[in-house]
Symmetry: C2
Subunit: 333 residues, 2 copies
Amino acid sequence: MKLAELGEFGFIERIRRAVAGAPGVHLGIGDDCAVLELPPGERLLTSTDLLIEEVHFRREWTDSFRLGRKSVSVNVSDIAAMGGTPRHLYLGLGIPADLPVEELDAFISGFLSACRDYGATLVGGDTCRSPGPLLISVTVEGSAPSAEVVSRRGARSGDGIYASGTLGDSALALRRLLDGSLPDDVSAARHHDPRAQVELGRTLAKARLPSAMIDLSDGLLADLGHILEASAVGAEIEIAALPLSPAFRSALAEAPELIELALSGGEDYQLLFTIPPAREGELAAISTALGLPLTRLGTVTAEPGRLWLRRADGGREAATAKGFNHFSPFGKG
Amino acid sequence: MKLAELGEFGFIERIRRAVAGAPGVHLGIGDDCAVLELPPGERLLTSTDLLIEEVHFRREWTDSFRLGRKSVSVNVSDIAAMGGTPRHLYLGLGIPADLPVEELDAFISGFLSACRDYGATLVGGDTCRSPGPLLISVTVEGSAPSAEVVSRRGARSGDGIYASGTLGDSALALRRLLDGSLPDDVSAARHHDPRAQVELGRTLAKARLPSAMIDLSDGLLADLGHILEASAVGAEIEIAALPLSPAFRSALAEAPELIELALSGGEDYQLLFTIPPAREGELAAISTALGLPLTRLGTVTAEPGRLWLRRADGGREAATAKGFNHFSPFGKG
């Protein structure tokens, strides 16, 4: 079936029927606005992301189901970074005329499966045709008790710098795809179907452990740079401390320059956070409980904006925040 | 200056500096999420819209400042339709590489000027390059006391059907532009810089007058059709009752078939609402106070989904909801 036959309202009606109600959702899909209620005393947390074909993804590299899942996860990751619980999602779709309805159905199935994983509900959106690329716009609303919201602003000199999981896997998969070769399964899964670290974010926030937190979407150096700027501090990172997966390590053994991907690759969707020294001891139990590595990468320093990389030989070099520049034709700014 | 030189973070920083704080905005642009607080006891109302170049607008027909304003107004109109107060906006931009920074600055100026008009604040967004058209994604959050939220669901047989303002002006301007001729100034202003009827929506909701309400974005027949479907009722509309501007009337005198634009043209961004008969008398004072025509178009009937058009000669015909179909190559579904 072609989308022009089904029509905008037919398509929306199919989605509406697939979504169940949820507590706090007084009106979902099917009115001018969604009508919602947050738990009493909680702050509203909202974030929005665009995913554009040929910029953020290629349809030939992924399937529609995982693209739907990833569209949710990259957005929910921003809620995790504030220590919040994701609640409501909004999906804007600009759809090329030639996209089969079956592909759209798979995308929606993936989108809804990820919503279920995170306990969130699709409550609104907008659909129209696109004259060019497939366009995906996702907005997420979450909430957290006001005293538990974690911003980028609170890092202090002496705090430990930590990352969850491993770094560079997604960027390694993307590098393979760009080279025309096949990524290993672990890296490919990290790239096509990343998991937002909601449980970790909530656990840390509830314990009021992090002085600052951000999700790793633009690359470690760029995202750490955002914390340093917002907190007016500096940092020193030990390159040897970067948490790397076995697949990444074996790639690195063949091509040492790939360490750049763990430093600046982007799309890790892990959490990067700073912890006051007196409380660093509490992390081990959380890591064990969640079955998730939490690795100390370095230390916050006093000099605003100054970011040093400590090499394995003991020397150090000044780093610049070389995150993804979406406006540069070469990606890196 | 080209956008690639300014970079994503440079561009966001320019926007951030142009936005003032507001009550209830604990964190705006510059963290993973905006952190917000609604007035106690109010429901959260959220809506999202996509505006895509060559689908919703052409850059040659409008200037960037008014495009920025319209991007806000069409979204805020959904808050007005629920009886709410608009509070927070989120802007996603997919930007063609060749778009001059000056155009972007004009767009942002227009966007922020409309935010100020509605008393709302830009608190977040996402920017990236677009490989094709200019892409605009806007999400708005508003709120209303829970007892005052108006949905599409409450229309009852015997209720009067009302529209604010005049109908068809925006569609007339679009028709002229598509024909390659120049629209009159009034119609052009309605098309390029519509005003969301927030004050009317709030006034009606506060008085708990409307049994159902919607904003006129897809065209009178299509949007009335949404109310009929959600409320499981029918309607009869008097064609002679349609509120038309002087400019529209003079166009109609030359081409009577243009009445179709008032019935199905779309983008009026007026409010369409139903009022129980016992309370219709209260509308005149509101119309006078706001300086805005509120016109009775017809009556809600009992037969679900049945929409009759009463002609000036007394005869009637069954109407179908011929609103804009964004997936049809010809626009109309």
